[in-house]
C-alpha cells in the first residue's frame, strides 16, 4: 500500500486548490503567487542541483562499457557502446537522451527448472517511457500557445498535428491519450512486476499520480467541466504572468486553479526529486565519459598535490638496508649500489 500515500497527497492538493480558489481574494494567491513561486523554485533548484553535481569530483574514469573497446586494428570497436572519442560520446548521449537506448537493452532474468537462468529482453519500460516522455514534451510545447502572442506558425502546426483526427469539439489531442496511457502503463508496471514493486517507493509513485492528475484535470477542463473556462481569460492571465503584469478580473472555474496548482506543485517538487534525471542524464559520468583511460590519464581531483608519486625503485632506495636485514629480496643488491657510489 505504499502508493496510497501518493493518492492521498494528490487528493489533498486538489482539495486545497479547489476549495481555496473559491475563497474571495484567493485567486491571486493560486493564480499568480503560487505559479511565480513554483517557477522560481524550479529554475533556482534546477540550477542549484546541477551546480552541486558540477562541483562533485569524478575520481575515476567510469564510463559503462557495453561493447568491444578500442584495441588492435583488426578487432572491431563498438563505437557507440564503448566510445573513445568525444564525437562517439556525443552520439551515445544523443541516443540515450532522445531514444532511451539503455532502457532498450533491459533484460529480465528468470530461474527455470534445471535450475537454469534465462535472460529475456524486456522492453516495456523503454516503450512506456518513450510514450510518456514524448507526449509530455508535446503537451508542454503545445501549452506555449497560451504564453506567447502572436502564436507562430510552427506552434499551430504542432497543435494541428496533435489533433489530426478531428475527434469531437474541442478536438481531441492524441498526446493527451498517449500521456495518460503511458502513465497508467508505467504505474501498472510498478504494481505488476514483483521485483519493481518491491523497490518502488512513495517518491516513485507520487510523480506518476501527480502527472496523471495534471493530465486528467487538463482533459476535464478542455472537454467536460467548461463552466467559466473561457480560454481568452486564461490566456490573458498566462500572458500577464510572463510579462510580469498579471491580472485576474474575471471568474475562472475551480478546475483551472486545480490544474495550475498541481502543475506548480510539480515544478516546485521537480528539482528535489528523482525527476532531476532531466538534468542528471547529461551529468552522468557513466554515460558522458569516453573510455580512453589507457590513452589519456584520468587525474583524480582528490589527489593531494603535496603527495608525490613514489616508484618502486625509489622505495627500494629508501629502505634497501632494512629490506636486506629482514631478508626481503631486492632488485639491486647493497653491494651493487655501493659500487656505483
Amino acid at each position: 500500500m505504499k502508493y496510497a500515500f501518493s493518492f492521498l497527497a494528490v487528493i489533498a492538493l486538489i482539495l486545497i486548490a479547489g476549495l481555496g480558489s473559491q475563497i474571495p481574494g484567493m485567486q491571486y494567491f493560486f493564480g499568480v503567487a503560487i505559479p511565480y513561486l513554483a517557477i522560481m523554485l524550479f529554475v533556482g533548484g534546477f540550477v542549484y542541483r546541477v551546480m552541486q553535481w558540477a562541483k562533485s569530483p569524478v575520481p575515476f574514469s567510469i564510463p559503462t562499457t557495453c561493447g568491444q573497446g578500442a584495441s588492435l586494428d583488426f578487432i572491431k570497436q563498438d563505437k557507440l557502446d564503448c566510445p573513445t572519442k568525444t564525437s562517439e560520446v556525443v552520439a551515445r548521449m544523443f541516443l540515450e537522451i532522445f531514444l532511451f537506448r539503455s532502457l532498450f537493452r533491459n533484460t529480465k532474468s528468470e530461474i527455470h527448472n534445471g535450475p537454469k537462468v534465462t535472460y529475456e529482453s524486456s522492453k516495456w519500460l523503454w516503450l512506456f517511457g518513450l510514450l510518456f516522455h514524448y507526449s509530455f514534451l508535446l503537451i508542454v510545447i503545445r501549452h506555449m500557445r497560451l504564453f506567447i502572442d502572436p502564436v507562430p506558425y510552427w506552434l499551430s502546426a504542432i497543435e494541428g498535428a496533435d489533433s489530426l483526427l478531428q475527434i469531437g469539439a474541442p478536438t481531441l489531442y492524441l498526446s493527451d491519450v498517449a500521456l495518460l496511457g503511458g502513465l497508467l502503463l508505467l504505474f501498472g508496471r510498478r504494481l505488476v512486476n514483483r521485483q519493481v514493486r518491491y523497490i518502488s517507493l512513495n517518491n516513485d509513485y507520487f510523480p506518476l499520480v501527480l502527472i496523471f492528475a495534471i493530465g486528467v484535470t487538463g482533459i476535464l477542463m478542455r472537454y467536460f467541466l467548461r463552466t467559466n473556462i473561457d480560454i481568452i481569460n486564461i490566456k490573458t492571465l498566462a500572458m500577464g504572468l510572463v510579462t510580469f503584469s498579471p491580472v485576474i478580473n474575471v471568474k475562472i472555474g475551480a478546475i483551472f486553479y486545480i490544474h495550475l496548482f498541481l502543475v506548480s506543485t510539480l515544478l516546485a517538487y521537480f528539482p528535489f526529486s528523482k525527476l532531476m534525471h532531466m538534468g542528471g542524464v547529461f551529468m552522468s559520468p557513466t554515460r558522458n565519459m569516453a573510455n580512453d583511460s589507457r590513452a589519456k590519464r584520468h587525474i583524480n581531483p582528490w589527489n593531494d598535490p603535496t603527495i608525490k608519486p613514489h616508484s618502486y625503485a625509489g622505495y627500494e632506495d629508501e629502505f634497501r638496508e632494512f629490506m636486506v636485514d629482514a631478508g626481503i629480496p631486492v632488485e639491486k643488491e647493497l653491494s651493487a649500489v655501493q659500487d656505483e657510489a
Binding site: I39, V43, A54, K55, I148, I229, I232, V242, F282
Partner: protein, 132 residues
C-alpha cells in the same frame, strides 16, 4: 567546479528554454481580442452569453451531427425569429463578419476550427452567388 566549459552553456540554454515566453514576447502582453457584436443589433443568442463563450464549439459540433448525421435540421427560435439549424443558416445571420467575430478570439488563442473547410463565410457566399 568541473567541466565549466560545457555545464555553464548547458545551464544557460536550459534557462533560455524555460524563460522562452518571457523573451519571446518581449514583455508585451499583446492586445486582447474584442469580438464584434452583431452589426444588426440582435441581443439574444440561442443560448446565454456565458454558455456560448465556453461551449459554442460543442454546440456547433452537436448541430453538425444532428443535421448531417441524424437528418435533424429543426428550426431554432430566438425572439420570435426562426432560424434553421446550421452555422451559415443561423449563427452567421447575426454574426455576419467571420473575420471580426470568429477569427478575433481564434487567432489570439491559436484555435483553428475546421468549420471553414466546408462552410463559406457570408462574404465568400455572396461572391459565389454573383459569379453564378
Amino acid at each position: 567546479m568541473y567541466n565549466k566549459g560545457t555545464i555553464i552553456p548547458g545551464l544557460i540554454i536550459f534557462v533560455l528554454i524555460v524563460t522562452f515566453p518571457i523573451w519571446f514576447n518581449g514583455l508585451k502582453a499583446g492586445t486582447l481580442p474584442k469580438p464584434e457584436l452583431p452589426p444588426g443589433g440582435e441581443k439574444k443568442c440561442v443560448m446565454p452569453v456565458e454558455y456560448m463563450r465556453a461551449n459554442h464549439m460543442q454546440l456547433l459540433n452537436q448541430w453538425r451531427d444532428d443535421v448531417l448525421r441524424n437528418n435533424d435540421r429543426i428550426v431554432v427560435m430566438v425572439e420570435g425569429k426562426k432560424y434553421r439549424k446550421g452555422l451559415q443558416m443561423a449563427c452567421m445571420k447575426c454574426h455576419s463578419n467571420k473575420e471580426k467575430f470568429c477569427d478575433n478570439c481564434h487567432t489570439y488563442t491559436a484555435v483553428k476550427p475546421y468549420c471553414w473547410d466546408c462552410h463559406l463565410t457570408p462574404k465568400e457566399a455572396a461572391s459565389k452567388e454573383e459569379t453564378h
